[in-house]
Amino acid sequence: MVSGYLPYLQIIKNQVQIVLQDFSGKLGACILLFFVLLALFAPVIAPNDPFKVYSREDGSLAKMDPPSSKHWFGTTHYARDVFNQTIWGSRVAILIGFLSAFSVTLIGTVIGLISGYYGGKIDDLLMRLTDIAYGIPFLPLCILLVAILKPSIWNILLAIILLFWRTTARVIRSQVLSLKERPFIWSAKATGAGDLRILFVHIAPNVLPLSLLYLALGVGWGVMTEASLSFLGLGDPMKISWGGMLYDAFQMAAMRTAWWWILPPGISIALFVVSVFLLGRSYEEIVNPRLREP
């Protein structure tokens, strides 16, 4: 059991080190790092505006050109460069993925901590709230919210945050329930520690690994949700995202002719999501030692 003043950062550092010893953890971290670098250096790798319209040498618009040395991934129906868009799309994915995962994990963890620790009426209320969040069909509600608030990445973010805390909250709560009966919590109480101190100095560090697991998974879910909403035409029209690219491609029936317009954004989403799932999986074996190999 971790308890006392061991700083949160130290715990996170230890956990990251363990994850990186595992093969799938390493693989996931590499892919994730690759996308982070893509997003950071997007202006260097693809210096042209992703909305830029290209023409061919004879002056006609470069519509639906297959991959060539000029356009590595070909062009879209609107004569835009698919490679450019794919690179720039990583920015939205990283932004949405990390922001949503951080907020969802924070909210879920705090609700889980409070609900599990205090119990009684507070617990009942919060858990009813979680039940309701579970009962609402997720994507349809996001569609509704984004339609109400006008499509923009901030509203997509809000929609994700409003519902996704439910899983983390439930898992953290059950963990807290078992933790709070342990002797080290009793002794903390006996020495006169207050509720807040017990919660954040003694209990929280012990649920932190679990929160981190859901943080990793949350990044994947966030990216997936953004892509789904954008694919339904509810994405931010001013930002290039992978889901938005697929929306355009689907609307233009690109699967008939332009495979080069379909493959890059889809593969990017899948690779990005799998990278955090891989991290999550290797991490799960730390959190749940029973899964570890004998």
């Binding site: 994507l139 569609i143 889809g266």
Partner: protein, 311 residues
């Protein structure tokens, strides 16, 4: 259970009334006079204050009336029921197969813990799980419809299809052909979770003494594995209940890609059309299906694990 559904209904009711834009604008053109606009508003009950609209809505709902679609001018019930049926046919069949195959494969992978096939299998499944369902659908369309020309590109029937009876809609080759691709897509999408759950549940049971005893008794490996799987199945069943709640999210995307005339596609269309009643009706139906499924799952525990007794 009832409370949950009630809150969902209430939340969606008021959310929907926050949408900027007047649903009446869907019905009229610019040159309709103010008086006529007022009349339409009155006719649809939109002139009343919102709490009154809410009370009327709840009253009707309790009587099983979902209101009238402002777009189709039909009772919502008549629009949604056939669509719910279409959704359930697609979702139910492929989910059942996904759980069966996923459960068996997961049990196998869990049993073979540490083998190379297990490691590779798990990474493959994770990758499958990371593919967005709509992209998988587009890929399937690309390969099987436009490239190999094996299956139709969407919808549930050929254009011009007419059937004499309700059942006749579903019992023919044309329907089956249209079902194949979305079915396959949903199957691939859903197979990952049951597999992983079954796998980790197997891992937990595997070390228990009764299995060692069975082995010592000289039972073949496959029958010991069967005993282990029998005991590891509960988490998978729990998951089925949760899955139904999530399933509608995938369903929305799947139905959009394959233009399957189901509840999920209807909800997207209705949101864009500002068809209050239809969206609310779909929400209620989805929540209802999810809650009922969870209830059935709870009941099934007793059947599967005799230690659980209902009092």
């Amino acid at each position: 259970m009832v409370v949950t559904i009630w809150v969902i209904i209430t939340v969606t009711f008021f959310l929907f009334r926050l949408i900027p834009g007047d649903p009446v604008s869907m019905l009229i053109t610019e040159n309709v006079s103010m008086e006529a606009q007022e009349m339409i508003r009155k006719q649809w009950g939109l002139d009343k204050p919102q709490y009154e609209q809410y009370l009327i809505y709840m009253e009707n709902l309790v009587q099983g009336k979902f209101g009238t679609s402002i777009y189709y001018k039909y009772p919502v019930w008549e629009i949604l029921i056939p669509r719910l049926f279409n959704t359930l046919i697609l979702m139910g069949t492929s989910m059942l197969v996904a759980i069966l195959i996923g459960g068996i494969a997961g049990a196998y992978l869990g049993w073979k813990r540490g083998a190379r096939s297990e490691k590779g299998g798990v990474i493959f499944i994770l990758f499958l799980r990371s593919i967005p369902i709509f992209w998988m659908g587009i890929l399937l369309l690309m390969v099987f419809t436009y490239w190999l020309r094996l299956f139709p590109g969407g919808g549930m029937h050929q254009t011009g299809f007419l059937s004499q009876s309700f059942i006749g809609n579903y019992l023919n080759l044309d329907f089956l052909k249209h079902l194949v691709l979305p079915f396959l897509c949903y199957l691939l999408y859903n197979i990952g979770d049951p597999l992983m759950i079954m796998r980790s549940s197997m891992l937990e049971i595997r070390g228990e003494d009764f299995l060692t005893l069975l082995q010592a008794k000289g039972l073949s490996e496959s029958s010991v594995m069967k005993q282990c799987a029998r005991n590891a199945i509960l988490p998978l069943i729990t998951y089925v209940g949760v899955l139904v709640g999530y399933a509608f999210s995938g369903q929305v995307l799947l139905e959009t890609v394959f233009s399957w005339p189901g509840l999920g596609r209807e909800i997207v269309l209705a949101v864009f059309k500002r068809d209050y009643a239809v969206v609310q009706g779909s929400f209620v139906l989805m929540a209802f299906v999810a809650v009922v499924m969870n209830f059935l799952v709870d009941l099934s525990y007793g059947l599967l694990d005799p230690r659980i007794v209902y009092k």
